[in-house]
């Protein structure tokens, strides 16, 4: 029998500093054996991070945290909130790989100094750097964290955590801040090192794909409780609890049906759908929440059902002769962009070279690439936030305001001291015909936009800080569509959100683009999300668009190595 390295029995943890006191973890039990990897999966607020901190002994400094239950690490019984007993365990028997390798490494210290502190000698440090597959250990030994890439930093973090040969490793979202292709390498490395050392791993993550790829067993947490546990294959294959089932359904893979809403019916989206379907119809022909939910469950609800009846007229601009090429919503012709770098006078760093792209009216295009590929620069140029160094950019603003942008971090893009109503009304006023809109009409438009993203009108008087992350992102969407633009630019709008909220946002965006006939340019690093939201996918690498494929069958049509790599990185 393999020895047990971690045993948690009925552990509860509460934060007394919050008002009212918050029970973050409630009666959680699980155990990990040597050589086993246990996934602790959940969304934000599920208590998975607190659980992770508790088993590392990192909750002992805050006097307002209290705990009950028992925690045994490698045969030693410990109290997660009392410092006594942790010495010799924390940092030796149990170590951690943290999420963000940039901020988790001291920026003023060389890798060598950090690693020698735990490894003991320079030779041993170099051996560990070699062990985590760093190509030039001697150079990295002398480097500071900011001189390394994200993936390299995470390898250093793993070397730091493993150098003392712990019995238990806590991996706290170790790949969340990394590019998808780096993520796969890091997971492989963790797997290999686990086999070599035989340690147990507690893998805390919100990413179901990562958990499925990495873990032998999984516990799913929600609101501080474990709602489901079992082997990885069983939990992912046939989830028993309603919540786990919803989570698994929300997960995007390359096999997700892109013609239907993602995930299970959710009140927010269903309400918005009903609103959209009933708009402009006679009283007698209205549909209901129950009817839409039933259709969704029966998988007979298609996005095409939401297209307005007058599709044909929208795309033909007034005065255009029939049969002429339709005006694109957005067109880039040989756009280049370069920045001056510090140092020389004429030294320029080219981020975009000769990019041409065209987004038709009502079309949705996704721009997929890794960080540094130039995808966000394209979006910022399209939005007019930056100007191109060369080439031409054309936006169609004949009959509407040309562009609106939804950013990744909606919380930061909403002015904190304005209420939701002020934010939305301000957008109406600033639009092209905003000056002519009466106060009554503005209020009606704002109310309508709230319905379209299914936000309760009672929230109009709230400020952004009083809303949840998902609500804030929906306010950002409402602001972008309160006066429907020709094209909606989305910069990774779902990547900072939990799985279930992300699928809500994707569903809402899809609903809006079909119901309102808005074009979409969707920038992302996630090929699976791109496939769901778009008609066509552009793959971008090093400032150049290297491939354009229809979203319908990406997997079979991509040809470049780079796109293949991105494809492989989407965990099935």
């Amino acid at each position: 029998m393999t020895p047990q390295v971690l045993d948690v029995r009925e552990m509860s943890i509460s934060y007394g500093s919050r008002v009212p006191a918050l029970l973050a973890v409630s009666g959680v039990s699980f155990s990990v054996e040597s050589g086993q990897c246990l996934g602790v999966v959940g969304e934000s607020g599920s208590g998975k991070s607190t659980t992770g901190l508790a088993i590392q002994g990192l909750l002992t400094r805050d006097p307002s945290v209290s705990a009950t239950g028992s925690l045994t690490i490698a045969g030693t019984e410990l109290n997660p909130v009392v410092e006594r007993g942790w010495e010799g365990i924390r940092g030796r028997t149990v170590t951690t790989v943290f999420q963000d390798p940039m901020s988790s490494l001291d920026p003023t210290m060389t890798i060598g100094r950090m690693l020698t502190f735990v490894a003991g000698s320079k030779a041993e440090s170099l051996r560990w750097l070699d062990e985590v597959e760093i190509r030039d250990p001697a150079a990295v030994f002398r480097s500071y964290p900011h001189q390394l890439s994200g993936g390299m930093r995470q390898r250093v973090m793993i070397a730091l955590a493993l150098a003392r040969r712990p019995a238990l490793l806590v991996a706290d979202e170790p790949t969340t801040a990394l590019d998808v292709s780096v993520q796969a390498q890091i997971l492989k490395l963790l797997r290999r090192e686990q086999e070599a050392l035989g340690c147990g791993i507690v893998f805390v993550t919100h990413d179901l794909g990562v958990a499925k790829a990495m873990c032998d067993e999984v516990v799913v947490m929600r609101n501080g409780c474990i709602v489901e546990r079992g082997t990885s294959a069983r939990v992912f294959g046939a989830p028993e609890s309603e919540y786990a089932r919803r989570l698994m359904e929300s997960r995007l893979t390359m096999a997700t049906d892109r013609h239907r809403p993602v995930g299970l019916p959710e009140a927010t989206v269903v309400n918005a759908m009903v609103e959209s379907l009933n708009e402009g119809r006679a009283e007698t022909a209205t549909t209901t929440v129950d009817a839409v939910t039933a259709e969704w469950n029966a998988r007979s609800l298609l996005w095409s059902d939401f297209a307005p009846a007058d599709v044909g007229e929208v795309s033909v601009p007034p005065g255009a002769s029939p049969g002429a090429a339709p005006i694109a919503a957005l067109e880039f012709t040989a756009v280049t962009k370069s920045y001056p770098t510090g140092g020389g006078i004429a030294r320029l760093k080219t981020v975009l070279s000769e990019v041409s792209l065209r987004v038709e009216k009502r079309e949705s295009v996704a721009l997929v690439g890794e960080s540094g590929s130039g995808k966000s620069t394209i979006l910022r140029i399209a939005a007019g936030l930056e100007s191109a160094s060369g080439g031409s950019v054309q936006r169609s603003d004949v009959d509407a305001d040309a562009v609106q942008v939804i950013f990744q971090d909606a919380g930061a893009s909403l002015t904190p001291w304005l209420t939701v109503e002020q934010l939305l009304t301000e957008r109406v006023r600033n639009s092209k015909r905003g000056g002519k809109v009466s106060a009554k009409d503005a209020a009606r438009l704002v109310g309508l936009a709230m319905d379209r993203v299914s936000l309760d009108r009672a929230l109009l008087t709230s400020k952004p800080s009083q809303l949840s992350g998902g609500q804030r992102q929906r306010v950002a969407i409402a602001r972008a569509i309160v006066i429907p633009p020709t094209i909606l630019l989305c910069d990774e709008p779902t990547s900072a959100l939990d799985v279930s909220i992300a699928s809500t946002v994707l569903n809402l965006l899809n609903l809006l683009r079909h119901a309102l006939g808005i074009s979409v340019l969707f920038v992302t690093h996630d090929l699976a999300a791109a496939r769901v939201i778009s008609d066509r996918i552009l793959v971008i690498s090093e400032g150049q668009i290297i491939e354009s494929v229809p979203a319908e069958n990406v997997s079979s049509t991509v040809s470049s190595d780079y796109a293949r790599r991105l494809l492989d990185a989407v965990l099935s």
Binding site: T95, F98, S103, S104, L105, D106, M109, L160, A161
Partner: protein, 331 residues
């Protein structure tokens, strides 16, 4: 590094040049007549006219300025109107006096800041007291502190002397920095006496700066202790004290050092007051006499020296910043 030095030398020249223009213009705009200041109130019209020509004051203003500037290049700061001696000679023993005091002020300020911020961050039983110190001392003017210190340490306790730089004025050495001179000539008693004279004025001038610095440092240390790299260190079994000194202090010193650069400018002007109170025969005392007697060459000389000191101090701060934080590049 070479680029950095060249850039700083250029900025030194620019600062000195602008200062010379500024001081020159100010003096001409003012009402005080330098010739009357030089000759005294009872001089005859003939003597005034003669001196005016002797000083070149009859020439056009622009020519006067270039005459002055030309002198500067040869190290000639002009004649003091009130003492009738070359300003450069007069400054020769004032500059070391002030620089020695300034060095001690900075030294005390840094020590004070690290101690206060460290105790505050480790959340001991006295951190409440230190919070009070942060708020009260930062606003206390240095002349008040100086007077209080004189009353306590000189008048009541007799721990330190109150006046001058040294008891035995007959001694001396090659540099004019008395502590250093004592060490160089092997006269330790001389150094010790100089240090005793330095303590009170240096403390009085350093308290305000040190407390302001400590507040910035304490902020940086607290956020450092709550940072992700501190969490990593904790998870690797480092103690709180080790995290504070190995990781946080270095990360927190960047903003504190920038602050120190700014404060050192303020320190130079606060030294004028402190030197008066302690009869410290330095630039500050010299400057206030010179201003009172409309002694333009003297005022200009002191301004130029202080300007140069300030530029050099900021350059030193930048170098230290780059040494402390590997992400900072010297440009």
């Amino acid at each position: 590094m070479v680029r950095f030095i060249i850039r700083r030398l250029v900025s030194l020249v620019v600062v000195l040049f602008s200062l010379s223009v500024l001081v020159f213009v100010l003096q001409r705009v003012g009402n005080a007549d330098p010739v009357r200041a030089y000759l005294g109130p009872n001089a005859s019209q003939a003597a005034i006219a003669a001196t005016r020509i002797k000083f070149g004051l009859d020439k056009p203003l622009i020519v006067q300025y270039f005459d002055y500037l030309g002198g500067l290049f040869h190290g000639d700061l002009g004649m003091s109107y009130s003492t009738r001696r070359p300003v450069a000679v007069e400054l020769a023993d004032k500059v070391p006096a002030t620089l020695e005091l300034a060095a001690w002020v900075l030294f005390f300020a840094i020590i004070l800041a690290v101690i206060l911020a460290g105790i505050y961050t480790l959340k001991g039983p006295v951190s409440g007291v230190i919070r009070f110190v942060f708020f009260s001392f930062a606003s206390a003017p240095s002349f008040l502190l100086a007077t209080l210190m004189l009353l306590l340490f000189f008048k009541q306790l007799h721990w330190f002397p109150a006046v001058g730089r040294i008891t035995d004025t007959s001694g001396g050495g090659p540099t004019g920095f008395y502590v250093l001179d004592g060490l160089l000539t092997g006269n330790l008693a001389y150094s010790l006496d100089a240090i005793q004279h330095l303590v009170l004025p240096a403390l009085a001038a350093s308290l305000g700066i040190g407390v302001a610095l400590a507040r910035v440092l304490a902020d940086g240390l607290s956020s450092g202790m709550a940072s992700n790299y501190a969490r990593t260190a904790r998870s690797l079994a480092e103690t709180e004290r080790s995290i504070l000194f190995r990781h946080s202090l270095r990360n927190a010193s960047s903003p504190a050092l920038s602050m120190l650069g700014v404060l050192s400018g303020a320190m130079l002007s606060s030294l004028v007051v402190v030197e008066q109170i302690f009869s410290w025969n330095g630039l500050g005392q010299y400057l206030s006499t010179a201003i009172a007697s409309a002694d333009f060459p003297a005022v200009a000389g002191v301004s130029l020296v202080l300007g140069a000191v300030y530029v050099i101090l900021t350059a030193i701060v930048d170098v230290v910043l780059a040494l402390v934080d590997p992400r900072v590049k010297l440009t």
